[in-house]
């Protein structure tokens, strides 16, 4: 390498650069095409898309169906119907924000509902203790997932595909495939039905379960946006290597996320018992996929680090409104599934577009 030519060449091109305007970091807002502005808007407010879809769905169904749809009773019914998926959606959102996925949420929910039921009804344990033990079992199940993901470095998809089957099998074994009847629960552990009781607000009936869901969303929103833990969850999902270099113990964050997710699955189990009355080892078979649907329609990126917890609530409501509205319109059930499928694909397509900077 010839030293002088390198040096002079460098000096020359840098002189040229210095002569150019110095404002390399300026942000000029020129008139941009509508699409660019739209892109910037969605990039900034990822919850806007599901909110708009929800609003449009409500408008369309209320003009098509009218009062029957807008009746407070029907609207509160929709909220009741999305309660379980909503709570599981919280768990799923946390996992997906870390760029993972949890296929076992439904299985954890069913397993913990059986644990709550058997501990409360068959062992004659104090109902509060039965509930607490169920919640603990959920957190433990989540911890097992988290350990497999962080300690053995297995992909979350595979880990939870495995534990989905394992937890579901344990659930069948532990329950003996027997349903615990509603009357037995009422007699021995009525607290498990608390989530199904309702109060009247503004002419609509809300179950404690659905109110609890809203409170949980608020708590998780606070944790994600106003605590260091929340920032670390986003950073871990966004770029784990960068997060580690910034001093974040990403494995601990991941384990904590799986534990919290498992706990929320058990809370969903409580809501499930309140909703269906009995404890059935066959309940909630599709719940894991439904929770992913809610998260995806809510605008969370499956690649992690991007999304909002309220997006998931909106996503769950969008699914609930579409299913309810189509059912009231007298459309065949298969078109509900068709529509939900369409929404998923549109939501993921939109996310791909939004993520482009």
């Amino acid at each position: 390498m010839s030293n002088t030519t390198v040096k002079s060449a460098a000096a020359e091109h840098e002189l040229v650069a210095a002569a150019a305007s110095g404002d390399f970091a300026s942000f000029k807002r020129e008139s941009e095409p509508l699409l660019t502005r739209l892109h910037r808007f969605f990039h900034r407010y990822p919850t806007a898309a599901p909110a708009i879809v929800l609003l449009m769905a409500v408008l369309v169904f209320s003009t098509l169906i009218g009062d029957r749809f807008l009746h407070p009773f029907n609207l509160s019914l929709i909220v009741q119907q999305v309660t379980i998926i909503g709570i599981l959606g919280i768990a799923q959102t946390l996992i997906i924000l870390t760029a993972g996925i949890d296929l076992s949420v439904g299985a954890i929910m069913v397993l913990t509902s059986v644990i709550m039921g058997r501990f409360g009804v068959e062992y004659g344990l104090s109902p509060i203790l039965a509930l607490g033990f169920g919640l603990f079992a959920g957190a433990l199940a989540g911890y097992i997932n988290g350990l497999l993901v962080t300690f053995f470095r297995l992909p979350p998809f595979i880990v939870t595909l495995g534990t989905w089957n394992i937890f579901f099998a344990l659930n069948l074994w532990y329950s003996g495939s027997q349903t615990i009847r509603s009357q037995a629960i009422d007699a021995a552990a009525p607290i498990l039905h608390w989530t199904g009781q309702s109060i009247e607000l503004l002419g609509a009936r809300f179950t404690y379960g659905s109110l609890m869901m809203l409170v949980l969303f608020a708590i998780v929103w606070y944790a994600l946006n106003w605590t260091a833990w929340g920032r670390h969850v986003y950073a871990t999902g966004d770029d784990p290597a960068a997060a580690r270099l910034a001093g974040i113990r990403t494995d601990r964050i991941l384990r904590s996320v799986y534990i919290v997710a498992g706990f929320f699955c058990a809370v969903a189990a409580w809501a499930l018992i309140g909703r269906i009355g009995s404890v059935s080892p066959q309940a909630g078979m599709m719940a894991n996929l439904d929770s992913i649907t809610a998260v995806v329609i809510g605008g969370c990126s499956l690649f992690g680090g991007r999304g909002s917890i309220f997006g998931t609530l909106l996503g769950a409501l969008v699914v609930g409104v579409f299913r309810n509205g189509l059912a009231l319109s007298g459309v065949d059930v298969l078109w509900q599934d068709f529509t939900v499928g369409l929404l998923i694909i549109i939501a993921v397509g939109l996310d791909q577009w939004i993520r482009k900077v």
Partner: protein, 266 residues
């Protein structure tokens, strides 16, 4: 400018790191003086990354000693080094793209609200963090980044590098280590970052600059540490050696002791 008897901020003696049969650091020495920019250059595979990792806590050496301000230190993780006042700007920029600038500046060392909100509810003091982030960017002449709430991914490469440098400069008490800070940047942006590196030095911090870009190294470095085959073979100054001398020593084409200024000219 540096003089011979200046205080050593960071010193390492006879560092060794082996990976199986491969010896990444083979009895390397290292000396960083107070308030200087020390460039570390070396061919690919010379082991300069391993050396830097050992100094920044990302790697624990098998043998050797590291002294910070004359006291022996043992870094088990990058956090240990950070706590001791050594900040590192990594080549791949340790920033979270979807978080905003202020969040990124405070990533891993968030401030909590005073009182019960912070203690019990662990509430972040966003306002204070944003205000301070703004002040810190302004100090480094980076206030052209107007919106501190902007996601880092919407910034250009130079601006992101600016955020990463600002973060380390803002929190470093002793040493800032920069790994290839101008590697992926355009000409203008490189210039800006080089000025930033000088600013950091002028604020009294010591800077370790790892770079392949000889013109950049010769422009900003006070001294140049040349690494070859896992150890330090020479320390030169931009005015004692030419760029081609440096490249020759680095690649083994020249024995540093045969240069008229000697292997340890600085």
């Amino acid at each position: 400018m540096t003089t011979e008897n200046q205080k050593l901020v960071l010193k390492a003696t006879q560092l060794v790191k082996r990976y199986g049969h491969v010896t990444a650091i083979d009895g390397a020495d290292f000396e960083l003086r107070e308030g200087e920019i020390l460039a570390v250059i070396g061919d690919n595979g010379a082991g300069k990354s391993s050396l830097i990792k050992a100094l920044s806590g990302a790697l624990v050496p098998d043998a050797g000693e590291i002294l910070l301000d004359g006291a022996p230190v043992q870094f088990k993780s990058p956090m240990d080094a950070r706590k001791a006042g050594i900040e590192t700007v990594y080549q791949n920029l340790a920033v979270a793209p979807s978080l905003n600038i202020a969040d990124n500046l405070y990533l891993g060392r968030e401030k909590l609200k005073p009182g019960i909100l912070g203690k019990v509810f662990k509430m972040l003091d966003r306002k204070a963090m944003h205000e301070e982030a703004k002040a810190k960017l302004a100090e480094l002449g980076l206030l052209t980044i107007q919106n501190i709430h902007q996601a880092v991914e919407t910034l250009s490469g130079g601006q992101r590098q600016g955020v990463a440098v600002a973060r380390s400069a803002a929190f470093a008490k002793h040493v800032v280590i920069m790994d290839e800070p101008t590697a992926a940047l355009g000409v203008k942006e490189s210039r800006r970052v080089l000025n930033l590196i000088r600013d950091v030095r002028d604020r009294g911090l010591s800077v370790v600059l790892i770079s392949h870009n000889m013109p950049h190294v010769f422009e900003v470095a006070d001294r140049i540490h040349i690494h070859r085959l896992g150890k330090r073979v020479a320390v030169i100054k931009p005015d004692t050696h030419s760029m081609s001398d440096a490249v020759a020593i680095m690649t083994g084409a020249m024995d540093p002791n045969e240069h008229p200024a000697g292997a340890f000219a600085a």
